[in-house]
């Protein structure tokens, strides 16, 4: 502190830079900044790759694109992965808009998948297929909703911290799945559930992934309208912005919290259904695959707008799949692709700072003394 004062008395302590909040920026300019951020992220990750591995940067980019779009199968995988990630992001969004930080998407997806798998294993040979599907849908949606409502209920009544609570629920779900993987293991003792023969969703028009795409398109449209034009969506915004205002206008805050989070969990549960019955036909601890967390970024990057989420989900999946191809090509391990995806996310989130603030330097006149 003494140094400060000395510095002040010698008149060299004037701050040279300061951060200034911007006025509302034109959307074109904001998007230009975001675009620059994405390009910089690509260049930076190429640079990192080149420095670490000595590979030709052209090769890096071509591998990136190849990994995402190279073959028909890869393109479909890109679409499928995007649709699943988007689904989870859409599920989290109403809760986020209400400032309820649902970090439990992972667990809600898993428990939905668990419920699906349980129906397929236990009822698969007992019920006719249409009825089995119905039971699977109800069970998965209900399981996801219940998993989310437990923390919501505690939040509404005792104002517990939902971030920690939903996070903890993830671990319970993961361990539950681990437990049942032992119980239902085929063959016994292997610790894994093999392909479950009954209750698999049929491939639409011979395409295993099409169902997901249809579901997610419908869900995106629904969520956009729900949040923007419905009375429920309005209540969610009011509760999120200010609980006091909600009380003032007579909104039952507890009810809105529980209802919204139940919806959030229900959609997550449905994602579990799509994963287990639609594509994987089995379940492991990794079925949700971290999407519950990645979806948080997708939702935030899109500023909770369901339409923008299509792009943010696509971008993240593109980077992820592209980076995996780069990794394979360079014979590195999985961590490397995560570094590259991490760089992209850092740049995209970081660029929001430059949209909201600018750095101003001070004009100096003191040199004259």
């Amino acid at each position: 502190m003494n140094e400060n004062i000395k510095a002040a008395s010698s008149k060299k302590h004037e701050p040279r830079f300061h951060i200034v909040k911007r006025d509302q920026m034109k959307w074109q300019k904001a998007w230009a900044i975001r675009f620059v951020a994405i390009v910089s992220a690509l260049l930076f990750s190429a640079l990192i790759t080149v420095l670490l591995t000595g590979v030709d940067p052209i090769k890096f980019f071509s591998a990136l694109v190849d990994g995402a779009f190279g073959t028909s199968r890869r393109r479909w995988l890109l679409i499928y992965e995007t649709s699943i990630l988007l689904c989870v992001a859409l599920a989290l969004t109403p809760a986020f808009k209400m400032r309820f930080w649902n970090t439990g998407g992972e667990g809600q997806v898993l428990i939905g998948g668990m419920a699906t798998a349980a129906c397929m294993i236990l009822l698969g040979d007992k019920l006719p297929t249409p009825l089995l599907f119905l039971v699977m849908i109800v069970a998965s949606v209900a399981a996801g909703a219940i998993w989310a409502v437990i923390p919501a209920f505690f939040k509404a009544i005792w104002n517990t911290n939902e971030t920690l609570f939903t996070l903890m629920m993830n671990y319970i779900a993961i361990q539950l799945v681990g437990y049942f993987c032992q119980i239902w293991a085929t063959p016994k003792g292997s610790g894994t559930i093999g392909i479950i023969p009954n209750g698999q969703f049929p491939a639409l028009f011979g395409n295993q992934y099409l169902l997901n795409v249809i579901v997610v398109v419908a869900l995106t449209a629904f969520m956009f309208v729900y949040l923007k034009y419905s009375k429920h969506g309005y209540e969610i915004s009011v509760v999120g912005e200010s609980e006091n205002t909600a009380r003032y206008i007579g909104v039952n805050v507890k009810k809105v919290i529980v209802r919204t989070v139940a919806l959030s969990g229900a959609i997550c549960g449905m994602v579990g259904l799509l994963l287990v019955a639609g594509t994987e036909h089995s379940i492991t601890k990794n079925t949700a695959g971290g999407r519950g967390f990645t979806a948080i970024i997708v939702s935030w990057m899109a500023k909770f707008n369901p339409l923008y989420m299509v792009f943010s989900a696509l971008l993240i999946v593109f980077m992820d799949r592209g980076a995996k191809q780069v990794t394979t090509l360079l014979k590195l391990n999985d961590s490397f692709s995560e570094i590259i995806t991490g760089i992209l996310i850092l740049f995209i989130i970081g660029c929001e700072f430059f949209i909201n603030y600018k750095i101003a330097s001070k004009s100096h006149k003191e040199d004259k003394n």
């Binding site: 502190m1 004062i5 302590h13 034009y229 915004s237 912005e241 003032y248 007579g250």
Partner: protein, 521 residues
């Protein structure tokens, strides 16, 4: 005495962002042994300017000279080094510590609390403060806390004192006491800068007045040569009519009857204690009291937002004369009873409106539920928004501008406009002019008067006693949650209200100290 001013500001400019210029080219001087009042409306840059002298902000351009030498004040520590101390509007004290502990808190080196307490007593005696250095902050009244803040600054050797709106929280009697002390300090050679927007106080205390308008320095006048009208003109930039019309309604039937209302907070302390009164149609009932005396709780209890421990709230329907019980009803249930109760809460953007929503969406806060559709109808709210923008002259780029981007006065017009639009029979407004400039304030007073003339029972919680005395038909005074008096607005004076305001707090304070002493034994 030499002629070098204690502080000289030269061409100070401070910007926030690109558009907001909080201070533009301000140059002024503060002499030794004088009280300079800085006068200006809210948002005119008074506090920003003072924050630059006390090291909280750093000017973008310009120089500050202390005792004739250029000073670089980059932190509050630097400011103290130059002998500058600021007493902020919101106190910065640790509740569980004593006055003496708070005063030495943050000083370097070891300290002797006993000696500190003696020093505090010596300073207090010198200027006529009343203070007990060993009293804990939480047991103190607002004016005592302010005393601690002032002594804290003096203890650190400040001879330039800046007081930001020091009288906002004081009763007229306490204000008079503070002014006496300030005069004594001035006579002792200290320079005092007092920020305020209350004209009569400026005239009472200051030697000179520096006026700011929209961040620009208008000029300095010698107080003896100024009048309320001339200062207002300088401050606003045009002539303003400072009279509030008060009509006398011929017919004032009872509208809202409160009997024995008692509410407790989370710590089970009574925030409202056996409150009884009647609000009448065609009348403005003022509610006065030191802030935090139960005003907010009272209005929220009536609006159905507070848990009520005991008592009755009854509403008399103007058409049928039927008595409706409002106690333990939610806002929605009250509305469903057909009671048109409007409420302009104190916290405009945190309760009355949603800052991030646009004007249209804020219009439908109260009405969005109407109808069976699951979807919102934005057509009528948009029309209402346009109507209010036009009739109340709300300055806004468009109806789809988020309300938080509007200025304080315009935010309040949107809120009051919405609440009036439902043709209320009871209108409650808590501090509706706080933070508003003079013109907007008078717009709000006029709106309240119009409602009164339409036969609305208006309940107005205010802090400016001059306004309460001019505007209200009756004034209810709250002290620590109790009704200490209901006065006739036409015959009472603000001194009388001031006496009633402190009536029960004085009793409380005595009780508190008695308790403390008992606990010590």
């Amino acid at each position: 005495m030499n002629n070098v001013p204690a502080i000289e500001l030269r061409n100070i400019t401070k910007r926030f962002g690109t558009k907001v210029v909080a201070n533009k080219n301000v140059s002024l001087t503060v002499e030794r042994g004088e009280i300079l009042a800085i006068l200006g409306e809210n948002g005119s840059g008074k506090t920003t300017l003072m924050n630059m002298i006390s090291g909280i902000y750093f000017p973008d351009e310009g120089q500050i000279l202390i005792n004739g030498e250029e000073a670089v004040i980059a932190s509050p520590k630097d400011a103290f080094r130059y002998g500058i101390g600021m007493i902020h509007q919101h106190f910065k004290l640790v509740d569980v510590l004593t006055a003496a502990e708070n005063i030495v808190l943050g000083l370097k080196g070891s300290f002797n609390l006993k000696k500190a307490a003696e020093d505090v007593k010596r300073i207090a005696a010198q200027y006529g403060f009343e203070i007990d250095p060993m009293k804990k902050i939480y047991a103190m009244s607002v004016s005592e806390k302010q005393t601690v803040e002032i002594i804290k600054v003096l203890y650190r050797g400040a001879d330039i004192l800046i007081l930001d709106e020091p009288t906002a929280v004081l009763t007229p009697q306490e204000t008079e006491k503070l002014f006496k002390i300030l005069r004594k300090m001035r006579d002792d050679g200290k320079s005092i800068i007092i920020i305020t927007h209350k004209l009569h106080e400026v005239l009472a205390i200051s030697d000179r007045v520096a006026v700011l308008r929209k961040g620009e320095y208008v000029g300095t006048v010698v107080t003896a040569e100024a009048t309320e009208t001339s200062l207002t003109e300088a401050m606003v930039g045009k002539k303003v009519d400072l009279n509030i019309e008060r009509s006398l309604s011929a017919n004032t039937p009872d509208r809202l009857i409160i009997k024995g209302l008692t509410c407790v907070n989370r710590d089970l302390q009574k925030v409202l204690d056996n409150v009884s009164f009647t609000a009448r149609s065609g009348e403005i009932l003022g509610i006065a009291g030191i802030s935090g005396s139960g005003q907010r709780e009272l209005l929220e209890a009536i609006a159905g937002l507070q848990h009520i421990q005991s008592g009755e709230i009854s509403y008399i329907d103007p058409n049928s004369g039927v008595l409706e019980n409002l106690r333990d009803k939610t806002p929605v249930q009250i509305r469903d009873l057909g009671v048109r109760l409007s409420f302009v809460p104190e916290d405009r953007l945190g309760m009355g409106l949603v800052g991030n929503m646009d004007i249209t969406d804020n219009m439908m806060l109260r009405s969005y539920k109407a109808g069976n559709s699951a979807f919102l109808h934005r057509k009528e709210p948009r029309m209402l928004a346009n109507e209010i923008i036009e009739s109340l002259e709300v300055v806004t780029p468009s109806v789809s501008t988020p309300v938080r981007r509007l200025s304080g006065g315009n935010v309040q017009k949107v809120l009051v406009g919405r609440e009036i639009s439902s043709a209320p029979t009871v209108l409650m407004a808590a501090y509706p002019v706080r933070g508003l400039d003079i013109n907007s304030s008078y717009t709000i007073y006029n709106l309240l008067n119009q409602q009164k003339e339409r036969g609305v029972a208006v309940i107005f919680v205010g802090e400016d006693l001059d306004v309460l005395v001019e505007l209200c038909d009756r004034i209810l005074v709250l002290g620590s949650g109790k009704v200490t008096g209901i006065l006739d607005g036409r015959s009472t004076t603000k001194e009388e209200i001031g006496l009633y305001m402190t009536k029960s707090t004085a009793m409380e304070a005595e009780e508190n100290t008695a308790k403390e002493e008992n606990a010590d034994e």
